[in-house]
């Protein structure tokens, strides 16, 4: 009898928990892997495709499925660090096959040479180019992500990628130079300063 009641109780428990789990599976269903969103959140969103995927989200999905985290040149080291932190992976330097980390740039159309073909407008992933067929085009600098995608389609090569100028407003202090290794007490003269005897000789 006791065995029977134990089995019955276990069955009842299994039923109850099964129902709860089944309900949760339907009610709290997650359509997509939430990790992809988190990864996508760290991406620079230039949609440049230098990683070999057609945009930041596809690459995020690829990373979630195990691809390397060092294929994003616009994000650079900061993004790799952030991804390594998020995914608990080791930091690896940027993959040189994808490209190198370059200073930020914005596209600039030499407007005299523009023929108004709209090819760059179609290529721009963030709609940062303004213009119409047979009308001159121009780049909205504040919206440009510097992805380079408009340079290739231009039939007259009138698009330049210019480095973003630093203004007094967004300038910030540089990191101090790293100390020289193996310094000893007699080296403690300030760098670049002639010693006292040299100064006197001159």
């Amino acid at each position: 009898m006791s065995i029977l009641s134990a089995i019955l109780i276990l069955l009842a428990l299994a039923l109850v928990f099964g129902t709860i789990l089944g309900f949760a599976a339907i009610r709290f269903k997650v359509e997509e892997d939430p990790i992809v969103d988190q990864i996508d959140n760290l991406m620079p969103q230039t949609q440049c495709g230098q990683c070999g995927y057609p945009g930041c989200r596809p690459y995020s999905e690829a990373i979630a499925n195990g691809d390397a985290i060092n294929k994003c040149p616009p994000g650079g080291e900061a993004t790799i660090h952030a991804l390594a932190d998020l995914l608990g992976r080791e930091f690896i330097p940027l993959d040189s096959e994808s490209g190198e980390e370059t200073p930020k740039t914005v596209a600039y159309i030499r407007e005299d040479e523009c023929i108004g073909c709209t090819k760059c407008i179609q290529a721009c992933p963030v709609d940062a180019i303004l213009g119409a067929a047979k009308q001159m085009h121009t780049v909205i600098i504040d919206e440009c992500t510097g992805c380079d995608l408009c340079v290739e389609p231009c039939p007259v090569d009138c698009i330049d990628m210019l480095p973003v100028e630093v203004t007094a407003k967004d300038w910030y202090w540089e990191a101090p130079e790293l100390p020289r290794v193996g310094i000893i007490a007699t080296d403690r003269n300030p760098a670049g300063k002639p010693s006292a005897s040299e100064g006197r000789a001159a």
Binding site: Q47, A78, W171, K193
Partner: protein
């Protein structure tokens, strides 16, 4: 005075070096050959230029208007001609250039018509705030935050205490000290105007005990102007950086400004004495902020002293006025030796926040010796006035581990330089923190930018999809229209076929009749056979047409 004072953690006692520049009274230098007025000389949005090159301006005339709430008005410091609006070196640690209005004085120093309010006590606080805003007054203590914004706290907070910062704790700087010695009545009246706007329960002036002359003259001025004796003059012990806003609040009230908050959150507003004097001049005399007292000191100057400088005067002309010994000059520092920055060019102008120019010799302020490894002595922690852990911040800032640095409250660092001052390994700690703060700001900015880009990208995808769907829709509609048309044509051709069949059948019948007449029934069956074949051919033709 038997008043309870509190203390803040840490602090240092660097050599004061204040005596050099207090030997002479404040001097007004001759008019400069030109004035350079950067459109951005304060926190917030840069001002909007209102003048054109070639335009004549009068002293005190508005030349740039505030562009937004946290922005400042700017006025011509003297009469003359605007010769250019161009990029010029500005007093900024980066040494970068920025847009400036350049004025050539005409030597007449002719005022624009102006008048003040003789009895401010009958004026509405809103009206006074409006005048302060129109007069372009910024906090003259250092950060240059627009004063009208600071004096207009949000409705939710009640200001109980007005603290006037007369501490001036940084070595070498004596501008506030000299201002209080010579213009104490202006300062006190300015404080009373500010008090009229804010209506605090108590007004406290915090001043360090090394400024005995200024304390005397303030006492006299309070006795003359403040009949109700509402202003309390609090003498505090000399310690760097007790002039920091948060530190002074802690010394005077024992309260701490919350992490990430402002003094108004705990019912306190802090103003500098120079700002109070500027408020007095704006309200009572109707003069906008066009000059300030600036200390010119350092061993490379023959005559270190305080000058009443027109905003925009190039530093090199003022150095010359103070007998600069060019061969001795090693480093030119704007601000004090603790928190100031080296100027890369001596043609930059004095701006509203310039309280000191320090022309130092090499012996006076030598270049720092090379950085060595941290020995974890913990001296930085004992002097930090913000009770932070400078050593931990240093490790995290150096390894770019900014999340951890933020968790250790890097953003509460006031960059006072006390930790760097005591570090036995000569580590430029503050530079590490400044760099880390800049990186954190930049990363945040980039994150908002990338969010924005993502939004635009998604909108674009959506738009393209919509366009494609619309095209598909159109194509379908066209197809349907074509199908209808062809169906109609089909019907028509079917009708024709039927007619043809009828005709054919009629022909058949007549032929059959004829053949029957010819009495050969078999041949009529053979002739009827090709008929269905022609029908199928026309059917397939129709299909091709669609």
């Amino acid at each position: 005075m038997n008043r309870k004072l509190w203390d803040f953690h840490g602090g240092i006692h660097p050599p004061e070096n204040k005596a050099q520049s207090t030997r002479e009274p404040i001097v007004r230098p001759p008019l400069p050959s030109r004035l350079v007025l950067p459109l951005q000389q304060h926190i917030g949005q840069s001002s909007q230029c209102l003048v054109k090159a070639g335009q004549k301006v009068l002293k005190g005339q508005l030349i740039a208007a505030p562009d937004g709430y946290v922005s400042l008005a700017m006025h011509a410091p003297t009469s003359g001609t605007v010769i250019d609006i161009t990029s010029a070196p500005v007093p900024h640690p980066s040494g970068l250039t920025d847009r400036c209005i350049i004025i050539e004085p005409d030597g007449l120093d002719k005022w624009v018509p102006h008048s003040g309010i003789s009895d401010y006590t009958r004026a509405e606080p809103e009206r006074l705030l409006q005048i302060i805003r129109e007069s372009g007054i910024a906090g003259l203590g250092g950060a240059g935050f627009p004063t009208s914004v600071k004096l207009n706290p949000s409705e939710e907070v009640t200001i109980r205490t007005l603290i006037i910062n007369a501490v001036e704790c940084e070595p070498y700087i004596t501008a506030d000290d000299m201002l209080m010695r010579e213009h104490a009545s202006e300062v006190i009246q300015g404080i009373m105007i500010i008090a009229h706007i804010l209506k605090p329960e108590s007004i406290q002036i915090g001043i360090e005990d090394n400024k005995s002359e200024a304390i005397e003259s303030l006492k006299n001025a309070i006795a003359t102007h403040d009949r109700e004796q509402s202003i309390e003059l609090v003498v505090i012990p000399t310690k760097y950086p007790s002039g920091g806003e948060k530190q002074l609040i802690q010394v005077l009230t024992g309260c701490e400004v919350p992490n990430g908050g402002i003094p108004a959150d705990i019912g306190i507003v802090c103003q500098n004495v120079g700002t109070a004097a500027a408020v007095y001049r704006a309200i009572i005399k109707g003069e906008p902020l066009i000059y300030r007292v600036t200390t010119f000191t350092g061993e490379a100057l023959g005559q270190p002293r305080n000058l009443e400088v027109l905003i925009g005067t190039p530093v090199n002309e003022l150095l010359e006025f103070c007998d600069l010994n060019d061969s001795e000059l090693n480093r030119l520092i704007m601000g004090g030796p603790m928190m100031g920055f080296s100027l890369l060019s001596d043609s930059v102008p004095v701006i509203k926040t310039t309280n000191c120019i320090l022309a130092s010799t090499e012996a006076e302020i030598p270049l720092p010796p090379p950085e060595q490894a941290c020995i974890r002595c913990g001296m930085c922690e004992t002097v930090c006035p913000a009770s932070l852990l400078p050593q931990q911040l240093y490790w995290h800032a150096k390894s770019k581990d900014y999340d951890k640095a933020i968790n250790h409250n890097l953003l509460d660092c006031i960059e006072c330089g006390a930790c760097t001052y005591v570090c036995p390994s000569n580590i430029p700690l503050v530079q590490y923190y400044r760099h880390a703060k800049g990186e954190i700001r930049m990363l945040e900015h980039e994150h908002t930018r990338s969010d924005h880009s993502r939004q635009r990208f998604e909108m674009r995808i959506k738009r393209l999809e919509q366009e494609a769907a619309a095209r598909e829709e159109k194509k379908k509609a066209r197809q349907q229209a074509a199908a209808k048309a062809s169906a109609a044509r089909n019907k028509a051709s079917n009708n024709q076929g039927a007619k043809a069949a009828v005709i054919q059948a009629a022909l058949e019948r007549t032929r059959a009749k004829k053949t029957r007449l010819a009495t050969d029934s078999k041949s009529s069956v053979n002739r009827a056979e090709p008929e269905p074949e022609t029908k199928t051919v026309t059917g397939s033709d129709n299909r091709e047409n669609t």
